[in-house]
């Protein structure tokens, strides 16, 4: 590092020496190239809703890698972009944040990456700050903190069009002159400014900002001592140490995320000493710091921003008068939810039938063209039956992701959270918890990932614990199979089926709220949460971004279908086919009963018998612990084996024909309903367990989650089945 040779106490104690060390901010001068031979790493930072992700997408195109920061489920996106001279450059898209003083795990990731505290991510050489021109002062707050880091910065002045419409004229030239760093005007949605940004990124020498800002005198000694300790004991470069010291005093390091290196004991001691002293002062240091930064930003913006008088209410404001209206808002919200559920069941039918038909044809073709034997059975019953049974649900899952993407990209999702705040407050959560819960309709994993925006740790944990109760798309296959078994497709209208499905979703949602209420009153008692949430201006939906997201998630689903589910299908087929029944001519029913799977199912049977489930359903319950949708493929394998040899019966008919050992139908309407209710509540998803473990950093909570969810499922099913039997169903 070029400033490693700094004398450690780079900030002296007298107040006029409290600006940055002179050699690091040579106003206007350029420092020697900071770009070494390796690929330069850019970090992309900005407030939430500033258009950062859109800009990142148009900058890097399809050259992106999406992953997670180890230890937290904060999405890690790294893209590649080529400079003007064809050199590759890396861009890390960091989570949106209002401040480096972290209040939630994703802000903690941003802070730790920028401070070089994470070993899994290279410390960025340069930083692209995306700012929303229509709200410049607030966006510059984060920029102001970032300039403390002493890295070359490029500012992307986004949403210039929105600002102009709101009567705000921002001069990029003047801002550039004030700060001394490149300022690029952009309209990320239209792809404007992307080329200019690339050119700025290609520059070998980027000027450091003319960033002169005096730390308020009251805080200066504390900063100096903390900085010295960070340099001596935590091996930080002086400038980073100063920025980190400023943060530590206001951040108090409350949000720690796994995978970040902790502070040394000495620094912690110094910090504790100054924190105690800070508490003794009348005005908190954090508010002193914040107002001092805002004062500096105010001076900076004096000439940069010109307001052209009051413009009337914006289009966004006018839309809001309807969409967050106490009556119309709810109506619209209800319509959106209904439209989402309805299109899942009607629109998806055509592609589903198409996939279904082709899988059946494929199965028949393989059956006809191969000689009978174990390999043929493995291919038709295990591979094609198993994966085909899941592939069929891809259209529905894509439609679900489409809606979630649509609501997010138009800005309606925040309104939905606003509308839902009141009902959510009844159970002790706030509106922000609604977004994770709604995402959980698609899949609990993105839902749990979305909880990282909730600041309060207890509220976050409650939301994580109840999110998997929202009926996710993996339950759809089970519901659909059961509804199809329950009702003949020809005589019963679609609306009845949608009605039953709606009932299951309602049951899951009710369960979610009931348990949130219970947990907030027992395990996680705390003051009512305080919510503050920005409602971004409405945007026309960006179809390209939505489609990209759908493709990413759809691909993830297919990858699962291709690996986990294929694997499980093959293992399951093996478990049902071996060991072979000693009597070669035994019926396929007897063969399954004799097999490993049959034995496991029989072992489980005493526990699930009171719910009306037999050992074959038991096999499905065991295998679908991997993922709920595996239940369908398991049923395919188990009952497909019983089918006639020369054609693959649709699974529904096979289930209808299934009989218990005493000859009665196995899948009676009561059993179908009980089974659906079981899947509403039971924790049957390994991936969720893994994510919850990672997110809560212990096995305690995922195990608790399995126990309470599956326990509830069992008790409720017992009640339903036994009551149903008593009533004569």
């Amino acid at each position: 590092m070029d400033n490693a040779e700094d004398p450690p106490p780079a900030v002296a104690h007298s107040s006029d020496a409290l600006t940055l060390p002179a050699h690091i901010t040579p106003a206007g001068k350029k420092r020697p190239s900071a770009v070494p031979d390796r690929t330069p790493v850019y970090a992309m930072v900005g407030n939430p809703n500033c258009g950062k992700t859109t800009l990142f997408n148009s900058l890097t195109g399809l050259r992106q890698k999406v992953g997670n920061y180890p230890g937290v489920t904060v999405e890690k996106k790294i893209g590649e972009v080529f400079s003007q001279h064809g050199r590759p450059m890396k861009v890390v898209d960091l989570p949106g944040a209002y401040s480096l003083a972290a209040r939630s795990p994703d802000e903690a990731v941003l802070r730790d990456v920028l401070l070089g505290r994470r070993l899994d991510t290279p410390q960025p050489d340069r930083i692209i700050c995306v700012v929303d021109a229509s709200n410049l002062e607030r966006n510059l707050y984060l920029v102001h903190q970032i300039l403390d880091l002493g890295r070359p910065v490029i500012i992307a002045l986004n949403m210039m069009d929105l600002a102009a419409k709101a009567g705000i004229i921002v001069s990029a030239k003047k801002l550039e002159a004030e700060l001394g760093v490149p300022v690029i005007s952009c309209e990320a949605v239209r792809g404007r400014g992307v080329l200019e940004l690339k050119l700025a990124m290609s520059r070998v020498d980027l000027a450091l900002a003319k960033h002169r800002w005096d730390v308020p005198a009251a805080i200066a000694p504390a900063i100096a001592e903390l900085q010295a300790s960070l340099v001596d004991n935590d091996q930080r470069p002086a400038l980073i140490a100063r920025a980190e010291a400023l943060l530590l005093l206001t951040d108090l390091d409350t949000v720690r995320v796994a995978g970040s290196t902790p502070l040394s004991a000495r620094t912690t001691e110094v910090l504790a000493k100054w924190s105690r002293r800070s508490e003794a002062t009348a005005r908190t240091w954090s508010s002193t710091l914040i107002s001092s930064r805002y004062a500096a930003i105010g001076r900076l913006c004096q000439d940069v921003i010109r307001r052209t008088g009051q413009s009337g209410p914006s289009i966004s404001d006018r839309i809001d008068t309807v969409l967050v209206h106490t009556f119309w808002g709810w109506l619209f919200f209800g319509l959106i939810m209904a439209a989402m559920l309805f299109s899942i069941f009607t629109l998806a039918e055509y592609p589903m039938n198409w996939i279904d038909g082709h899988m059946a044809l494929l199965g028949a073709w393989v059956k006809n063209s191969m000689t009978p034997g174990d390999l043929r059975d493995l291919l038709t019953d295990g591979v094609i039956g198993g994966v085909g049974g899941i592939l069929v649900f891809l259209p529905q899952i894509l439609i679900l992701f489409f809606f979630v993407g649509l609501l997010e990209s138009t800005g309606y999702m925040a309104r939905a959270a606003f509308i839902m705040d009141r009902p959510m407050s009844k159970v002790g959560l706030h509106g922000k918890s609604f977004i994770p819960l709604l995402s959980s309709y698609a899949c609990a994993i993105p839902g749990i990932m979305a909880t990282r925006t909730i600041e309060n740790a207890k509220d976050r944990l409650v939301t994580i614990l109840v999110a998997p109760l929202m009926s996710c798309s993996a339950r759809l296959p089970v519901y659909l199979l059961m509804i199809a078994t329950l009702l003949p497709s020809t005589t019963v209208p679609t609306t009845t089926k949608v009605g039953i499905m709606f009932l299951m979703y309602a049951l899951g949602t009710t369960g979610t709220f009931a348990f949130a209420w219970l947990f907030k009153r027992t395990l996680f008692k705390s003051d009512p949460p305080l919510m503050i949430m920005e409602l971004p201006p409405y945007q026309p939906p960006r179809l390209k971004d939505i489609l990209r997201q759908m493709a990413e998630r759809g691909w993830l689903f297919l990858k699962n279908a291709g690996t986990i589910i294929l694997g499980i299908s093959i293992i399951l087929w093996f478990l049902t086919a071996y060991p072979k029944h000693p009597d070669y001519t035994a019926s396929s029913d007897a063969q399954i009963a004799y097999s490993f799977a049959g034995r496991a199912g029989h072992t489980l049977e005493p526990v699930i018998r009171p719910l009306g489930f037999d050992w074959r359903i038991g096999i499905g319950l065991i295998t679908s612990f991997a993922a709920r949708e595996v239940f369908v493929s398991s049923m395919g394998v188990i009952f497909g084996v019983e089918g006639a040899d020369d054609n693959i019966l649709p699974l529904r008919d096979a289930l209808r024909a299934a009989k218990t050992s005493d000859g009665r139908p196995l899948f009676t309407p009561l059993v179908c309903i009980t089974l659906m209710v079981y899947y509403v509540f039971a924790m049957q998803c390994m991936s969720t367990v893994a994510v919850v473990k990672r997110e809560t950093n212990s096995w305690k909570w995922p195990l608790f989650q399995i126990a309470y969810m599956t326990g509830t499922a069992w008790l409720l099913c017992l009640f339903i089945y036994q009551t149903g039997r008593a009533l004569g169903f």
């Binding site: 209040r103 705000i168 009512p528 409602l535």
Partner: protein
């Protein structure tokens, strides 16, 4: 500060359409620091748009939703419509 302190009341009691000046932010340190960082420090002007239990407000051109607990912690003084 003048001797006659203006009448302060929580943001949730501001009537829709009225504008107030933020005078005091209470609540835990995390919350009050965050709200100041978002640019709603003391002396900012806030216009209530709608809402009883959850407030929808306009501050510095941004739409912000605050739940009841949060709005209770922000004390404002009413700015008469004529002086705006």
């Amino acid at each position: 500060m003048s001797a006659s302190r203006p009448l302060l009341f929580p943001l949730c009691q501001l009537t829709p359409g009225a504008t107030g000046r933020i005078c005091e932010i209470n609540g835990d340190e995390n919350f009050s620091q965050r709200i100041r960082e978002m640019g709603f420090g003391e002396a900012s002007l806030v216009t209530k748009i709608s809402g009883n239990s959850t407030s929808l407000c306009q501050i510095n051109g941004t739409r912000i939703a605050l739940n009841h607990g949060a709005a209770m912690n922000i004390l404002v003084e009413l700015i008469p419509a004529v002086s705006r």
